[in-house]
């Protein structure tokens, strides 16, 4: 049946994710890092985002990851957990963390792929722990306080601007 478990990001987990990726940005020497849902929505970001169309980047990466999972299945793998794009001055390192989250790292020549890869591995357990906590919280907390208060009038006014 249709999975009704929405992904809800609370302040506490947001701050904890943010601390982890802020720290990752420093120790890996990357330019920009973000956590993405597999449906292409950015959860948390850190680093230089000026002049970067993050929303488009996020949707393209989610599409690329989805296509890569499709490729993996065709050759008998469950997934390819890492994607790497190398450019002249910028590189993108993409890591599938679990069934819902993707970590994306943009870095330049000022750091190395080896260091980025190593540091991604070191933060994975922390991100996983926060995510597990988030899942538990989503089971017990509901978003009813937000959603129950939506009136039909609010819905009618969605496009009133």
């Amino acid at each position: 049946m249709y999975n009704k478990t929405d992904l809800i990001l609370y302040d506490e987990e947001y701050q904890r994710f943010k601390e982890v990726i802020d720290n990752f940005l420093l120790i890996s020497g990357s330019k920009y890092v973000f956590l993405l849902s597999k449906s292409g929505q950015v959860l948390v970001e850190s680093g230089q985002t000026e002049h970067l169309d993050v929303t488009s980047l996020a949707s393209l990466i989610a599409g690329s990851v989805a296509a890569t999972i499709g490729l993996a299945k065709i050759v008998g793998e469950s997934e390819f957990s890492v994607l790497f794009h190398e450019g002249e001055s910028s590189n993108i390192y993409i890591s599938l963390l679990n069934e819902r989250l993707i970590l994306v790292v943009l870095f330049s020549k000022t750091t190395s792929l080896g260091l980025v890869r190593l540091k991604v591995k070191t933060i994975q357990p922390s991100i996983q722990a926060i995510y597990q906590n988030l899942l538990k919280k989503m089971e017990t907390h509901t978003s009813q306080s937000l959603l129950e208060n939506i009136s039909d009038d609010d819905i009618d006014k969605l496009f009133d601007f």
């Binding site: 597999k38 959860l43 949707s59 129950e148």
Partner: protein, 194 residues
């Protein structure tokens, strides 16, 4: 699957435009892009072939009004309609929150619409989704063209679950925003649990 972000106070919703090849899915998004204020839209990303046919997807993010202080963002996607791109089409349906099925009213496309609807149901089932539980509407497009089928007849064949229906001529913009508003309201109502 909506993403509700309490930290940045944003609700993100994914809406997919589905339908047979050349039915007007990209035309819907192009019109929405052209007529939406700059501050409420992002870039229109199109992954298309050199002949301008959708290869993977089109993507357009737009912002609508706030709900309880939460900014509501709609992520609009199209799928490639051509039959042989089914693997790509299925990928786009992952974690969908709402579906607009764009049907081509031309008589010659009658069967293509039915096949595409069957394909949609099948692809959803492969993810374990039941179309009856996903907010869905049908847009009968190209109403302005000659040689079109009867909406009543087409609806009888392809809409057994009585999804809401909108008439459109996407190339002229007729019905495009009505359709978008229709699906946005259904998706938010589902959030609300109605």
């Amino acid at each position: 699957m909506p993403l509700i972000n309490y930290a940045s106070r944003v609700i993100n919703l994914k809406i997919v435009y589905y339908g047979p090849g050349l039915c007007g899915k990209t035309t819907n998004l192009q019109y929405i892009f052209d007529k939406t204020d700059q501050q409420r839209k992002g870039s229109l990303v199109s992954l298309a072939t050199e002949a301008d046919r959708t290869l993977f997807f089109d993507f357009l993010p737009i912002e609508v009004a706030q709900i309880n202080g939460f900014q509501t963002k709609l992520h609009l996607y199209t799928v490639p309609g051509q039959v042989f791109y089914n693997a790509s089409r299925k990928l786009i349906l992952k974690e969908v929150d709402g579906i607009v099925f764009v049907a081509d009213l031309q008589v010659a496309r009658f069967e293509a619409n039915l096949e595409s609807m069957d394909n949609l149901i099948e692809n959803l089932e492969e993810y374990g989704y039941d179309i009856k539980e996903i907010p869905t509407i049908i847009q009968y497009n190209k109403i302005d063209l000659p040689n079109i089928a009867s909406i009543t007849e087409l609806d009888k064949e392809m809409n057994p679950y009585n999804f809401p229906v909108f008439k459109a001529s996407a190339a002229n913009g007729q019905g495009v925003f009505e359709t978008l508003k229709g699906i946005a309201k259904l998706v938010v109502k589902r959030l609300q649990g109605k």
